[in-house]
C-alpha cells in the first residue's frame, strides 16, 4: 500500500498481514552535469517501487522516497532512519536504491541495490518487461525473508 490516509486506514484494520516496509532511497544530484543521470535514476526507482507496490500491496507499505543530495552523509542518514523507522510496527524493513554508496552503510534492515536502467527511451511494453525482470531479481530477497 501507499503512504496515504485511505491505505493507512486499511493498514490499521489489517495490521497482522501488512508486516513489511519498503523505503525508496533517492539520490538527487545537483551538479549540472549529473542532472540528466540523476533524473533518469529517479524515474527508474519510482517506476520500480510503484510496480512492487502493485504486486505486493497487501503485504507492504511503500513509503514516499527519502531524498538526499550528493553531500549527505549516508551513515548519519542511515542511523536516523534505522532509529525512527523502528518506531513503526513493521517486522521487515527493505530499502530500495540505485545508489551504490548505500551498500557500504550499516543500517537496520535489508538494503536492496539495483543499477539504474534508463527507461525514458523505451516504449510502454518494453519498459514493463524491464521492470518485471528487475522485480524478479528482488523477489527472492523478499520471499526468503517472509518465509524465514
Amino acid at each position: 500500500m501507499n503512504w496515504n490516509s485511505q491505505d493507512m486506514d486499511t493498514y490499521f484494520q489489517q495490521k497482522d498481514y501488512i508486516d513489511t516496509l519498503l523505503v525508496p532511497l533517492l539520490k538527487l544530484e545537483t551538479v549540472p552535469e549529473a542532472l540528466k543521470g540523476s533524473s533518469s535514476a529517479t524515474e527508474f526507482l519510482m517506476h520500480l517501487s510503484n510496480f512492487i507496490e502493485t504486486q505486493f500491496r497487501g503485504r507492504m507499505m511503500v513509503l514516499p522516497p527519502f531524498t538526499y543530495t550528493q553531500s549527505t552523509n549516508l551513515q548519519e542518514m542511515g542511523n536516523v532512519l534505522s532509529k525512527d523507522l523502528q518506531l513503526m510496527d513493521f517486522k521487515h524493513i527493505f530499502y530500495l536504491t540505485t545508489d551504490r554508496a548505500w551498500t557500504d552503510v550499516d543500517i537496520e534492515g535489508e538494503m536492496i541495490w539495483l543499477p539504474s536502467i534508463p527507461l525514458e527511451s523505451m516504449d510502454q511494453q518494453l519498459r514493463k518487461t524491464v521492470i518485471e525482470d528487475q522485480l524478479r531479481q528482488v523477489l527472492p530477497l523478499l520471499t526468503n525473508k517472509w518465509t524465514e
Binding site: M1, T10, Q55, F56, R57, G58, R59, Q124, K128, L139
Partner: protein
C-alpha cells in the same frame, strides 16, 4: 388598421413578457439539460479497451494479457494506465479474470505456487484460487476473483469493466 392599435399598456406588457421569457429560458434550459443529460449519455461499447491478444490464440490455459488505457485523466495527473487480466477459454466462452487478490489487493499469478500448478497464487499471504477464480478455503482470500466483461472484435480480445465472478 385603427382597430388593431396596440395600446401603450399592451405594448409595455408584451415587451416585459418577451424580455422576461427570454431571461427565464436562459436559466431554465440549462437546468433541463442537466436533468436529462445522463439519460442521453451513451454507455457500453465505448468502455471496452483493445488488447494485443488474438482470440483464436487463446487456449484452456490461462495467459496473462496486458493492456493499457491511454490518456487517462485523473485530476491534473494524466497518464497511461496498465492493466492485466488472466484469460483462457472454457468451451466456447472466453473467461478473463482480474489479477487483483480479493484479500488485500496483491497481484495473483497462474501457477505461482509449485505445489499447486493449476491454481492462481497470491505471493503475499499464500492465497489460492481455482481456475474459475473460486478461492480455496483455508487460504486468506474471502471471495472469488472478479471477472472482466469480454468482447471480440476483428479477431482481437477487448476487455471492459469488472463484475463479480459468475463462474463460481
Amino acid at each position: 388598421m385603427s382597430k388593431n392599435r396596440v395600446s401603450r399598456r399592451q405594448f409595455l406588457s408584451y415587451t416585459i413578457m418577451g424580455v422576461g421569457g427570454f431571461m427565464a429560458s436562459g436559466t431554465i434550459m440549462p437546468m433541463l439539460r442537466f436533468a436529462v443529460d445522463p439519460v442521453l449519455q451513451k454507455s457500453g461499447e465505448g468502455d471496452f479497451t483493445a488488447t494485443p491478444q488474438r482470440v483464436d490464440e487463446l487456449t484452456e490455459t490461462p495467459v496473462r494479457v496486458d493492456y493499457t488505457i491511454v490518456d487517462r485523466q485523473d485530476g491534473w495527473y494524466k497518464s497511461d494506465e496498465s492493466y492485466s487480466a488472466w484469460v483462457y477459454k472454457s468451451g466456447d466462452r472466453i473467461v478473463a479474470l482480474s489479477p487483483v487478490c480479493k484479500h488485500l489487493g496483491c497481484t495473483v499469478n497462474w501457477g505461482g505456487d509449485k505445489n499447486h500448478p493449476d491454481q492462481f497464487f497470491c505471493p503475499c499471504h499464500a492465497g489460492r484460487y481455482e481456475k474459475n477464480g473460486k478461492h480455496v478455503p483455508g487460504t486468506p482470500p474471502i471471495g472469488p476473483l472478479d471477472e472482466y466483461l469480454v468482447m471480440e472484435k476483428d479477431g482481437y480480445l477487448y476487455l471492459g469493466g469488472t463484475r463479480p465472478n459468475t463462474l463460481v
